[in-house]
C-alpha cells in the first residue's frame, strides 16, 4: 500500500451528471419506435387532460399578469375542452360532428369533446394512483414473502392466491356494490384486485435477486432485512416492475371504464368515459353512434398506447441484458 496520508483530502471529481443519466435512460425509450408511438397516443390525452380548461395552466392568468386585467384573472374559460362538460346546449342534442361541436353532442345536448376531455382527467388521475397504491402494497408483500420465505411466504402467497382465484370483474363488482360507487372505493377495488398479481411478480424477482452475491455481502455486513429488501433488492427489480405497472395502468383504465359502463363508476353527471359509452349505447340503433364510438375509441387509444409503451420498453430492456 503506497497511499500517502496526505492524499486523503477528496477532490470532487465530475462524474456523469444527473442530466446525462436521465438522457441515457430516455435513450432506451426513444430507440424503440413502438414505444415512441405508444407514448404519442398516451401523451395526446395527457395534454388534453392538462389543458382541458385553464385552471392550472390558464392562459388568462398570463394575459392578466401582462395586461393587469383583473377580470381576465378571475374568469375561467374552458380552453382545449372548449365548453364546460356540463353545459347543455338547448336544441343541439344528439347531433353528429360539426364545426361547433367537434365530436357531436349527447342526449342532453352536452358537447362530447368537452366531456371526453374532462373525463380524461379523472381517468388519468385515478388509474395511475390506484396502480401506484397497488404497487406499494403488492410490492411490499411480494418482497417480504420472497426475501424471508418459509412460513411468511407460504401464508402471504396462499392468501393472495385465494384472492386471485376470484375473477377480477367479480371482485370489482362485489367491492363497489358493498362500499358504494365513489372515487375512493374505485381505488380500493383496483388495489385489492391488482395487488396479488404485483406481489407475485415482485416475489419471483426477489427470489432471483436474493441469491446474488451482493445480497450476501449486505448480509455479512449485518444489514437489516428492510435495508436489504428495499435498498439492495427492489431497485434491481425496477425494470420488469415498471413495465408491469404500465400494463396495469392500462387494465385499470379498462376496469374504470367497465365500472362506469355498468353504472358503478364515478356517479353522474361526472364525465366518465365508461358511463358515456353506456348512455350512448341506446342511441346506436337510432342512428347516433357518436357517444359510444368516441368514448370507446378514447379508452382504446389510451390502453393501446400504454401497452405499446410497455412492449417497446420491454424489448429494449431485453436487448440491453
Amino acid at each position: 500500500m503506497t497511499v500517502a496520508e496526505g492524499t486523503a483530502g477528496p477532490k470532487i471529481s465530475s462524474g456523469p451528471s444527473r442530466w446525462d443519466k436521465t438522457k441515457e435512460s430516455l435513450q432506451i425509450f426513444t430507440s424503440s419506435r413502438v414505444a415512441v408511438f405508444g407514448f404519442v397516443l398516451v401523451f395526446f390525452w395527457v395534454v388534453v387532460a392538462i389543458f382541458a380548461d385553464d385552471c392550472t395552466f390558464r392562459p388568462n392568468l398570463w394575459i392578466s399578469c401582462v395586461t393587469g386585467d383583473r377580470a381576465a384573472y378571475d374568469q375561467t374559460t374552458p380552453w382545449l375542452g372548449r365548453y364546460s362538460p356540463l353545459e347543455q346546449f338547448r336544441g343541439d342534442n344528439l347531433q353528429g360532428p360539426s364545426a361547433k361541436h367537434w365530436l357531436g353532442t349527447d342526449r342532453q345536448g352536452r358537447d362530447l369533446w368537452a366531456r371526453l376531455a374532462y373525463g380524461s382527467r379523472i381517468i388519468l388521475l385515478l388509474s395511475p394512483t390506484s396502480v401506484f397504491i397497488a404497487l406499494l402494497t403488492g410490492g411490499t408483500l411480494g418482497v417480504v414473502a420472497g426475501y424471508y420465505g418459509g412460513l411468511i411466504d407460504e401464508i402471504t402467497m396462499r392468501a393472495l392466491d385465494g384472492l386471485m382465484a376470484f375473477p377480477q370483474i367479480l371482485l370489482y363488482l362485489v367491492i363497489i356494490a358493498a362500499l358504494g360507487p365513489s372515487i375512493t372505493n374505485i381505488i380500493i377495488a383496483i388495489v385489492i384486485a391488482g395487488a396479488p398479481g404485483i406481489a407475485r411478480l415482485v416475489r419471483s424477482l426477489t427470489l432471483d435477486i436474493k441469491t446474488r452475491d451482493f445480497v450476501a455481502a449486505a448480509e455479512t455486513r449485518g444489514e437489516s432485512g428492510w435495508y436489504i429488501m428495499f435498498v439492495e433488492i427492489l431497485p434491481n427489480a425496477r425494470g420488469p416492475i415498471i413495465i408491469d405497472a404500465m400494463l396495469r395502468v392500462g387494465y385499470a383504465i379498462f376496469a374504470i371504464g367497465t365500472l362506469g359502463f355498468l353504472g358503478l363508476g364515478i356517479p353522474p353527471p361526472s364525465p366518465d368515459w365508461g358511463s358515456i359509452v353506456n348512455q350512448g349505447r341506446s342511441f346506436i340503433q337510432a342512428g347516433h353512434p357518436w357517444d359510444a364510438l368516441w368514448a370507446s375509441l378514447a379508452i382504446a387509444m389510451l390502453v393501446v398506447g400504454l401497452n405499446l409503451m410497455a412492449d417497446g420498453l420491454n424489448e429494449e430492456l431485453q436487448r440491453y441484458r
Binding site: M1, T2, V3, T7, A8, G9, P10, K11, S13, G15, P16, R212, D213, F214, A216, A217, E219, T220, R221, G222, E223, E232, P235, N236
Partner: protein, 700 residues
C-alpha cells in the same frame, strides 16, 4: 502428401452490430492434420469461440465470414447455403461445447438421442444403432454402457454427461472434432479423465481435433500444436513444447509468466500479471494490437501492424522483434519484487485467530414422501460440513481445496454466519461464532468479511462504486462522516484503482475491476479475517495474477488473516501458508502448504495433484484417476468416506476392509500436518511424489 483435414486461410469473421460491423476474428490461418490436436488459447474476448463457430458456420444471424476461405477436405465451406453446407460436411465435423447439459436434451433418454445421430444421417436400423452407441460409450470408458442408454441426462453425473456428448460427437467417426472449452465446467479429477479421453480418441480414430481453452494446463496436456490468439489475431503458433519452452511472442510469454507454477509459493516468487486488458474490437490500437500491453514496445510497433511470419518451419509469430526477445533474459518490473520475504521468523508467536472444533452444518433435505407432507416423514439431512476441526493462525492464509460439493463454501458460510451451525464449536478471537450473522455483535461482524466468487454479481448494479464502498464505512462508523469520501478514495487506491472509479457503475467495469472493488468493500471495515470464496476462478489468468498479488500485498500491509477457497491447486499453493483438503464434508488432510504437496499424501490429495493440468508439457505426472462419482452427502459412505474411490486401499491388509468399517484415525506427520487415513504413515511416506517437473530454466 497433403494430410490437412481443414485449412483455414486468412479468415476474418465479423458481427453486425448497431454501430456497424465489428471484426471479431482477423486474418487467421492454420491447418489441422489427421490425428493431430491443435490447441487454441487466449484470454476471453480474443475470438477463440467465434473462430470455432465460424468453422461450422454457426455464427448466429448477425455473424458472417467476411474474408478468407475455409477448406474442409478439399472443398470450400464459405459462401454456401445452409443446406449445401450440411451436405458437404455431412457428419464429418462434430462439436463439443462447454456445458454438457446444454448439449443434451433433458426429456430424451440418452439412447434415443445417441442413436438418432446414426439413424437420421445414415440408413442404420434401430437395434444396430443402439449396439453401436453402447460400443461407443464403452470406448469413452463409461461404466455399464447398456444401462446408461436407458437413463435420462440428469441421472448421470456431469463428467459422464460430457463423456456422452463426446461419444455422440464421435459416433459418425468425424474427420474433425471441435471442442470449445470442453472441461471448463468440470472438476479437476473429472477434467483429467476427459482429457485422457481426448488423447485416446485421437490415437484410436486418427481424428483431427481443435481444442479451445483458456487454461494453459489443459492445452499443455493434450495439444500437439498450440495457437495463441489475441484480440482476434493469431499471434503465435508452434509445437506445444516449443510454445512453453521458447515462446517468441510477448503475449505468449506474458501468459506463461502470470501462471503460478504448481509447487511455487508466495515465499520468494511472484506472479507477473499482464497490464491493461484486451482491447475491444471496436477500438483497436493503430499498430500492433498487443503494443499497449507489451513490455518490449518500440516505435515501429506503434506505426505498423506486424504480419504473421515464419521463425522457422513450424513456428510462426506476429511480432517484429521475436528473435530479440528472450524469455530467459526478461527482467521483472521493479515494483513486482516478491512480496513475502523468505526469512521466516522461526520463533514467531503463533496466535490462533479462529478455531473450529467438530463443526457441523447440515441442510434439511426436503423429502418427497407423502408422510413428510404431514410432518411424519423421516428427516433427512445433507451433511455439507461434518465434524471439521481446524485452527487459523493470525496473519496467515488457510487455503481450502476440494471438488465441488465437498462443503468448502458451506464451511465459509457457516463461519461468516450466512448459515447456522448444526453442532460443534467455532470461536473467533475468543467469541463464539456459531450463530447467524443477525445475532452477532456489530464489532464481531466487522471483523469478519468476505470476498465473493462471481465478479458479475458481487456488485449491486444499481449503485455507483463509491456508494457501495461507502456503505460499510457508514455502517461500522469507521471514519467521521466528512472523511468518508477520502477513505473511499484511499481504499480504491489500495486496490490499485483511480479516484474516478468513484462514480462508475458496475456495468462499466471489467471482471477484474469488479473483483478489486469487492475486495475494497470487504476491507472497508478493516476486518481481521477475510474469507475469500474462489475470488479468482472466474477471472482471466492475467487478471487472476494481479488479484492474487493484490491479496498478498494487502495481507502483508494490514496483517489480515485469510481463508482462501479455490479449486485450482496451483493458486491455492501459491497464496496459502496452510492448506486443508476437503472431501465430502470432512477434512482429509491439513497442514502447512509445502507439506501437503509432498509425500506423505492422503490418497485423495494424491489423486487431486495427479489430476491438475500443469502448464508445462515436459512435466511428468503420475497418472491416478478416481473412479466413480462423489457419493451423495445425504448418505455418505460408512467408515472412511473416501473408501468407495480410494486407489490406495490395497496398501492395507485384506483389501482395506477396515476402511469400510471404521472411521480412520488422524495420523500426525509432524508440524501440524495431519492425515485422516487408515494407511499407516510409513506406507504413505513411501509413495513417490506425484509431479516430477524438470528443473526450470527460466528461474529469474
Amino acid at each position: 502428401m497433403d494430410r490437412a483435414v481443414i485449412k483455414i486461410q486468412n479468415v476474418g469473421i465479423s458481427y453486425e452490430t448497431r454501430y456497424g460491423d465489428v471484426l471479431a476474428v482477423k486474418d487467421v490461418s492454420f491447418d489441422i492434420h489427421r490425428g493431430e490436436t491443435v490447441g487454441v488459447v487466449g484470454e476471453s474476448g480474443c475470438g477463440k469461440s467465434t473462430l470455432a463457430y465460424g468453422m461450422v458456420n454457426y455464427l448466429g444471424r448477425n455473424g458472417k465470414i467476411s474474408k478468407g476461405d475455409i477448406i474442409f477436405q478439399g472443398q470450400s465451406l464459405v459462401g454456401r447455403s445452409a443446406e449445401e453446407l450440411r451436405q458437404l460436411r455431412g457428419n464429418q465435423i462434430s462439436m463439443v461445447y462447454q456445458d454438457p447439459m446444454t448439449s443434451l436434451n433433458p426429456v430424451l433418454r440418452i439412447g434415443e438421442q445417441m442413436s438418432e445421430v446414426l439413424t437420421v444421417h445414415r440408413d442404420i436400423e434401430e437395434t444396430e444403432a443402439r449396439r453401436r452407441c453402447a460400443d461407443m460409450l464403452a470406448k469413452v470408458n463409461m461404466p455399464d454402457p447398456v444401462k446408461v442408454l436407458e437413463r435420462y441426462p440428469h441421472q448421470i453425473s456431469g463428467g459422464q454427461q460430457q463423456r456422452v456428448v463426446i461419444a455422440m460427437a464421435m459416433l459418425n467417426n468425424p474427420a474433425l472434432l471441435i471442442m470449445d472449452e470442453p472441461t471448463t465446467a468440470l472438476d479437476v479429477t473429472v477434467e483429467a479423465t476427459a482429457l485422457d479421453l481426448v488423447n485416446q480418441l485421437r490415437r484410436d480414430f486418427d481424428t483431427a481435433i481443435l481444442l479451445i481453452s483458456h487454461n494453459m494446463g489443459v492445452i499443455a496436456r493434450v495439444s500437439d500444436r498450440v495457437g495463441v490468439m489475441y484480440a482476434g489475431e493469431l499471434v503465435e503458433m508452434a509445437a506445444v513444447e516449443e510454445i512453453f519452452a521458447n515462446p517468441r511472442h510477448p503475449y505468449t510469454q506474458g501468459l506463461i509468466r502470470c501462471l503460478p507454477k504448481l509447487g511455487r509459493s508466495k515465499q520468494g516468487s511472484v506472479l507477473y500479471p499482464i497490464r491493461g486488458r484486451v482491447p475491444s474490437p471496436a477500438n483497436l490500437p493503430p499498430g500492433c494490437l498487443y503494443e499497449p500491453r507489451c513490455d518490449y514496445a518500440r516505435d515501429a510497433c506503434r506505426q505498423e501492424r506486424p504480419e504473421l511470419r515464419y521463425l522457422n518451419k513450424d513456428h510462426t509469430t506476429r511480432c517484429f522483434f521475436s528473435e530479440e526477445i528472450n524469455p530467459a533474459e526478461w527482467t521483472p518490473p521493479p515494483d513486482l519484487a516478491p512480496i513475502v520475504d523468505e526469512a521466516e521468523d522461526a520463533d514467531e508467536v503463533v496466535d490462533t485467530i479462529l478455531t473450529a472444533t467438530h463443526l457441523q452444518t447440515y441442510y434439511r433435505h426436503p423429502s418427497s414422501s407423502l408422510l413428510s407432507i404431514i410432518g411424519l416423514g423421516k428427516k433427512e439431512y445433507v451433511k455439507a460440513v461434518d465434524d471439521i476441526s481446524f485452527d487459523v493462525v493470525k496473519g496467515k492464509t488457510l487455503g481450502v481445496v476440494g471438488e465441488s460439493g465437498c462443503g468448502k463454501s458451506t464451511l465459509i458460510k457457516t463461519i461468516i454466519g450466512l448459515e447456522a451451525k448444526t453442532g460443534g464449536d467455532a470461536e473467533f478471537m475468543g467469541f463464539d461464532i456459531g450463530n447467524k450473522v443477525k445475532k452477532r455483535d456489530l464489532n464481531l461482524i466487522r471483523e469478519l468479511q468476505m470476498v465473493f466468487q462471481n465478479p458479475d454479481s458481487t456488485m449491486n448494479p444499481t449503485y455507483t462504486v463509491g456508494k457501495q464502498i461507502e456503505r460499510p464505512l457508514r455502517r461500522f462508523k469507521i471514519v467521521p462522516k466528512d472523511q468518508i469520501r477520502g477513505e473511499v478514495v484511499r481504499l480504491l487506491q489500495a486496490v490499485k484503482l483511480d479516484e474516478y472509479y468513484y462514480d462508475r457503475l458496475p456495468r462499466q467495469l471489467s471482471g477484474g475491476e469488479k473483483q478489486r472493488i469487492g475486495i475494497a468493500r470487504a476491507l472497508a471495515g478493516r476486518p481481521d479475517l477475510v474469507l475469500c470464496d474462489e475470488p479468482v476462478s472466474a477471472l482471466d489468468v492475467s487478471v487472476q495474477a494481479a488479484v492474487v498479488n493484490l491479496l498478498l500485498e494487502i495481507q502483508k500491509n494490514f496483517g489480515t488473516t485469510m481463508m482462501f477457497i479455490a479449486h485450482d491447486l496451483s493458486v491455492v499453493r501459491f497464496i496459502s501458508d496452510y492448506i486443508a483438503v476437503m472431501y465430502l464434508g470432512q477434512i482429509a488432510e491439513i497442514g502447512a502448504a509445502e507439506a501437503i504437496y509432498q509425500p506423505p499424501y492422503h490418497p485423495y490429495t494424491e489423486a487431486l495433484l495427479s489430476a491438475v493440468p500443469i502448464p508445462d508439457p515436459t512435466a511428468e505426472q503420475k497418472r491416478i484417476r478416481l473412479e466413480g462419482n462423489v457419493p451423495s452427502p445425504l448418505n455418505p459412505p460408512s467408515g472412511c468416506r473416501f473408501h468407495t474411490r480410494c486407489p490406495r486401499r490395497e496398501l492395507l491388509p485384506d483389501g482395506g476392509q477396515i476402511c469400510e468399517m471404521e472411521i480412520p484415525p488422524w495420523r500426525d506427520a509432524g508440524n501440524g500436518h495431519r492425515i485422516f487415513c487408515h494407511v499407516p504413515l510409513e506406507e504413505l511416506e513411501k509413495i513417490e511424489p506425484v509431479i516430477h517437473a524438470p528443473v526450470s530454466t527460466e528461474e529469474a
